[in-house]
Symmetry: C2
Subunit: 375 residues, 2 copies
């Protein structure tokens, strides 16, 4: 079916761009000598994860147990749940870890080590546990220079029910950067935090089997990852208006868009209304730190070939986008019924809004993918 | 099952509060002599719509055709789709209008009138069409003082395939108000826009069968709706932190909350991490115009009895909330595993994040409801 016939709003995945983005990151990981464990939270679609691995069910990172279960059910058996383990989910997580080849659990507290150990079956398989390190994002993770990290690592390593898996970090603060130079500084910090704590642990007799890092901004610019064993980028497979604004990609690399329709035309106030609101795009405010006027996504024609530079998505309500037309709305421009494609500010959040992904190539829908949902 | 045992994050609906909110609005509509046609976009759950009508499948407003179809399938046969009709959806909308008792479609352009007429079966049922009026929100709708409204209304009334249904407006700009006094001014504008255009149409020989308005802020303060026939509030059934901040309700009236768990504790930076991120709460920034420090929701204990006033949700990533603890994190406070309930900034968007609503009463889950999704 031609995608132009789909009811709007709906989610389109440009397969050519997706495959190119996937291949580029695979080549980069190969060149840098690191394992690629893409974060599937960006799409939550097993078919996309296979494309990321060139056709196989390779290692993945998940953000929820729901993702872990659904991907495991279709053959993804090498997993990492990259969230500090919630107290109430230890039994479920351990049960899944026993059912797959490998599910690494993440901790940043001694308490969480205890929950996992308590949930493990006596005499059962050792559960791999990694330590989350804060490399400057100040969200989750232990201070790489503090005493807590070595204490937790030792506790993991000493417990016969657990397998010491190493260190993991994520430079979430890369998203506050204004361009590649700043991102490179954050990337350096990200790797530095891992290497510093790993060196301290090594001197204490506790080498790290894995050193895992990754955010899309820090990885697309990475030239040297010596010492690192694994990377976990997620967004790169789609990219989005935010990544383009901070220099992670060109806007024409963006593979995800929301197809919508002009449902209102108001020349007197130089405005359009589109049928893609907060439930189709998410309310992510976008890269306002580099482009205060960015609006809620970048508007394109249906071919994603030409950006509608005069259109700014000024506001979203649940099912409406209110678009300002710079310079006024000329007679005949953007008539009611016009289809447009919006490259979202934040692909991960926009994708999660939709019950189905339409994979498109050469103007046609070639596959319909159903993402995992919930927790 | 006690809701405290549910895996987190998850969505809880406090049934006592929900029923009280529903009953209060039903009583208000009765007292004011208007038909209550609640907007079900807030929850998208048929069971909740029945509670809003005291147990019956009464008139409802929908935001999507998906809602219209799903609610119609379980007995809601008096519907209004309150979105300017998108060009490509006319055939589907007309087909549904022929299958239910009544589905009012909305237009704010002569083109849309033509699409509906063209989709109607010759000799079939007349399709009811209402005209959307802009009462100051400057999103959708015709200018009530302009010439376009009467021209479109006449076109609807003249077409034998269509039924002239009247006027509809929505004071979306009420959400920018700072309190009841400002809301009352907007409410006056909302009703005034309808009455003014209705008077002009009446003088031109075209009386309006229905005059429909409504937003939760303007309706909770309404004392006089003379001339109005119908109201369409949605949010009131849940309320939320935004509505409490602008004076639509007390915070203790809020019926919707997200149950979450403390998964990170960082005393050195006076911070907690919760397992409810942007995919559990939405990224709605909340009532920053009245409370610049509001954060991404109001945090409560599990009973929703005590507000955790020191906790401010400073940032959301996909599956994490980063919480600042005013005055520092005392030893032993909010230990890992602590359950909290977050009253979201915007109930409609937060509810849409979740695959299931857990209806709770006296601490127990008494029903599980599945909301409609998609378009």
């Amino acid at each position: 079916v031609p995608f132009a016939d789909l009811p709007t709003p709906c989610l389109l995945v440009d397969l050519d761009r997706l495959e190119a983005n996937a291949a580029a990151m695979r080549a980069r990981a190969l060149r840098l000598g690191v394992r690629l464990r893409p974060h599937v939270k960006t799409h939550k679609v097993p078919e996309i994860a296979r494309i990321q691995h060139g056709g196989v069910a390779g290692p993945i990172t998940v953000s929820t147990l729901a993702e872990a279960r659904a991907f495991a059910a279709v053959g993804f058996v090498d997993l990492c749940w990259a969230l500090p383990l919630p107290a109430g989910r230890a039994a479920e997580a351990v049960a899944l870890a026993e059912a797959v080849d490998r599910l690494v659990l993440l901790v940043d507290s001694p308490e969480a080590v205890g929950w996992i150990a308590a949930a493990a079956r006596p005499g059962g398989r050792r559960i791999p546990v990694a330590l989350k390190v804060d490399c400057g994002g100040r969200r989750a993770g232990v201070d790489p220079a503090g005493d807590e990290g070595p204490a937790i690592a030792a506790r993991i390593a000493e417990d016969p029910r657990l397998e010491w898996a190493g260190l993991l970090t994520h430079a979430g603060h890369a998203y506050a950067c204004r361009g590649p130079a700043e991102v490179e500084a954050v990337a350096c910090q990200e790797r530095g935090a891992l290497l510093a704590l790993a060196a301290r642990l090594g001197r204490a007799g506790l080498p790290c089997p894995d050193l895992s890092l990754g955010s899309t901004p820090t990885l697309v610019h990475a030239e040297d990852l010596a010492g690192v064993t694994e990377v976990r980028p997620g967004n790169y497979v789609f990219f989005d208006a935010f990544q383009a604004a901070v220099g992670s990609c060109r806007i024409e690399d963006c593979a995800l868009s929301v197809l919508c329709t002009v449902i209102g035309r108001h020349p007197a106030r130089a405005a359009l209304v589109l049928d893609a609101g907060a439930l189709a795009l998410s309310l992510d405010p976008g890269p306002r730190h580099v482009d205060p006027g960015c609006g809620f996504g970048a508007v394109f024609d249906t071919a994603l070939a030409e950006r509608c530079g005069a259109l700014r998505i000024a506001a979203l309500s649940q099912e409406h986008a209110r678009v300002e037309v710079r310079g006024g709305l000329p007679p005949g421009a953007f008539p009611l019924g016009t289809r447009l494609r919006i490259v979202p500010n934040h692909a991960c959040l926009a994708a999660a809004c939709h019950p189905v992904h339409h994979a498109v190539r050469a103007g046609r829908v070639v596959a319909r993918w159903v993402p995992v949902r919930g927790w």
